[in-house]
């Protein structure tokens, strides 16, 4: 894993990394991915992937309405709110 890949991955992950973190992660992630390469020793052509330990599907609850979180509760941990909405920085600028 090179520096460019680390920077691209950090962008995808929305993580601002310091210069020292970029250097450290380039080294550490390379080591980890090298280690993970031992998985290539195994032939898995005919193996079904296993995403979950208990392979249940289509678990449905009864179709009965239940109360959802009250708005004040839902907003109670928001870093910025006007009491009605979550507030975010402007995403459109006047052109």
């Amino acid at each position: 894993m090179d520096r460019q890949q680390v920077e691209k991955t950090a962008l995808l992950a929305r993580l601002k990394l310091s210069e020292s973190e970029v250097v450290k992660f380039t080294d550490q992630l390379t080591g980890l991915l090298d280690y993970v390469a031992i998985l290539n020793e195994i032939d898995t052509d005919d193996v079904e992937p296993m995403a979950h330990a208990v392979e249940v599907s289509n678990v449905l609850r009864d179709d009965e309405p239940v109360a959802s979180l009250a708005r004040d509760d839902a907003l109670s941990n928001a870093p910025k709110t006007d009491g009605v909405y979550f507030l975010v920085p402007p995403i459109l600028t006047e052109g």
Partner: protein, 478 residues
């Protein structure tokens, strides 16, 4: 008889007979916290007055003759990644430093219904990512047996709190060994139930296909009692299985006749500390003397477990932790240039080193061009690991192994080497990948005076067998 150091059954007996009130009992543990926790630092927060108020309510309930829950009057510490309504739940992260959940986790509801006293919030590695509790953003927990050593992790606060006698019971969560490894390091019993046995509703998600909440206690009986309270169906976690919960405490003292224990050569390979190996082998001798048969099995894919886990878990983590965006809850950076920069700066400042590392690994392994090579490959190997267990359990009832390759390591000794830290989980994380239950029980002490644990694994939903097998050994070593 002193309160601190008594077993949960002894405490329940004293409470029931009226020899001790819940207030007296809770005070004794609070005093122990005041005496021990300045050094051990297992608790992120505890509130003496709140604990005593809960105790008063339980005493009043008992005096008025109302029916009492299964834990009536017993203190329980809760790992700080399980939501408690109206009280901070930080995950030991700056990101959630001020987060106050508007609801209770299912297990917290169960504890309240069982009349437990919620003692306080136990320290952990940030978002449960780590094996030493050094990744907490707030404090480093110390091993109660020797403060220079790590308590293990990520449920290090829970294990150290029980190990130091500051609470008889604690809840932890186990994604790759995070209950069993610290239990082993701190000389207590810790169990990861089958995936789906305990609802994850209100547990802050790390890796959703691997996370499972479980009990820690000073003995097997306390562990069984706490499991009995938290296990069972909850519709709010769609992976929580609707199966009846046995009364584990009722059958616990019945030995398993004709028990066959599997041991895998792969668990005794290079890198295993000789004292750990001899402790596990002596435990097997104890079982043999009780009439059990020990049989060699093979888990050929176990050497790939660490690699498989450190793809699957970070992939799930990178997806789960995408929710920390500085908008809905949690920390938001103060200065940034635009919306995207707000996300990135918030996450860069709010997350610690190990969390960032795992988000990076997961994001990379799931990104275009790498998904098949890493994530899909790991999921296929995960099935092979599970099939190894299926084959083994056709021949044996339980599998015995070390919990960790070494006894507790020194604080600071592995923090700069993530791979060496990950290899700590070598023997524990297969159970999470396969979804099966596992328990760590104290089995010996190293020449350096540190506890050494024994791990037992059983097929899915065979917690009763696991607890009875563990109890057989415990009874013999009493």
């Amino acid at each position: 008889m002193s309160i601190v150091g008594s077993t949960t059954e002894e405490l329940l007996g004293q409470l029931a007979s009226g020899d001790v009130s819940c207030v007296e009992l809770t005070s004794a543990y609070l005093d122990q916290i005041a005496a021990r926790d300045p050094e051990v630092q297992a608790f992120l927060r505890y509130d003496r007055d709140d604990a005593l108020r809960q105790a008063e309510r339980i005493d009043a309930k008992r005096q008025s003759g109302q029916p009492l829950g299964k834990l009536a009057g017993l203190p329980v510490a809760v790992k700080d990644n399980m939501c408690t309504k109206g009280q901070p739940t930080t995950c030991a992260s700056r990101m959630l430093e001020d987060f106050v959940p508007p609801y209770d986790a299912h297990v917290v509801t169960r504890l309240k219904e069982a009349d437990a006293v919620l003692m306080g919030r136990a320290n952990l590695d940030e978002f449960a990512m780590g094996s030493s509790t050094e990744n907490s953003a707030f404090q480093v927990t110390r091993n109660p047996h020797n403060a220079e050593f790590a308590p293990g992790g990520s449920s290090g606060g829970s294990a150290a709190a029980v190990g130091a006698g500051m609470t008889p019971l604690a809840l932890g969560s186990d994604t790759g060994g995070s209950i069993r490894q610290p239990a082993s390091f701190c000389g207590v019993v810790g169990m990861k139930p089958t995936y789906g046995r305990v609802s994850r509703y209100g547990l802050v998600a790390f890796a959703s296909s691997l996370d499972q909440i479980g009990p820690l206690a000073g003995d097997v009986t306390g562990t069984a009692r706490l499991l009995e309270v938290i296990a069972g169906h909850d519709a709010r976690d769609s992976t929580c299985v609707d199966l009846p919960v046995p009364e584990y405490t009722q059958s616990l003292n019945e030995p398993l006749s004709g028990l066959t224990i599997g041991i895998a050569a792969e668990h005794f390979a290079e890198g295993l500390d000789p004292e750990v190996e001899s402790t596990v082998r002596s435990a097997l001798d104890v079982y043999t003397s009780l009439g059990a048969t020990v049989k060699e099995i093979s888990l050929p894919h176990s050497r790939y477990a660490v690699a498989t886990y450190y793809v699957v878990a970070p992939c799930e983590a990178s997806s789960n932790l995408a929710r920390y965006d500085g908008v809905h809850y949690g920390f938001r950076a103060e200065s940034f240039e635009n919306m995207i920069d707000m996300y990135a700066t918030t996450r860069g400042e709010g997350f610690g080193d190990e969390v960032k590392r795992r988000i990076m690994v997961g994001t990379y392994a799931l990104s275009a061009g790498y998904y098949d090579a890493y994530y899909l490959k790991a999921l296929k190997v995960r099935r092979l690991i599970r099939e190894d267990f299926d084959r083994a359990f056709a021949d044996v009832d339980v599998i015995a192994s070390p919990v960790t390759p070494t006894p507790a390591f020194k604080i600071g000794s592995l923090v700069d080497d993530p791979l060496a830290m990950y290899l700590q989980d070598l023997y524990t994380l297969s159970a999470n990948l396969a979804g099966i239950p596992g328990i760590s029980i104290p089995a010996g002490t190293s020449s350096g005076g540190l506890p050494i644990g024994l791990q037992l694994l059983a097929p899915a939903f065979e917690e009763e067998r696991l607890l009875r097998a563990a109890r057989m050994f415990e009874q013999e070593s009493e």
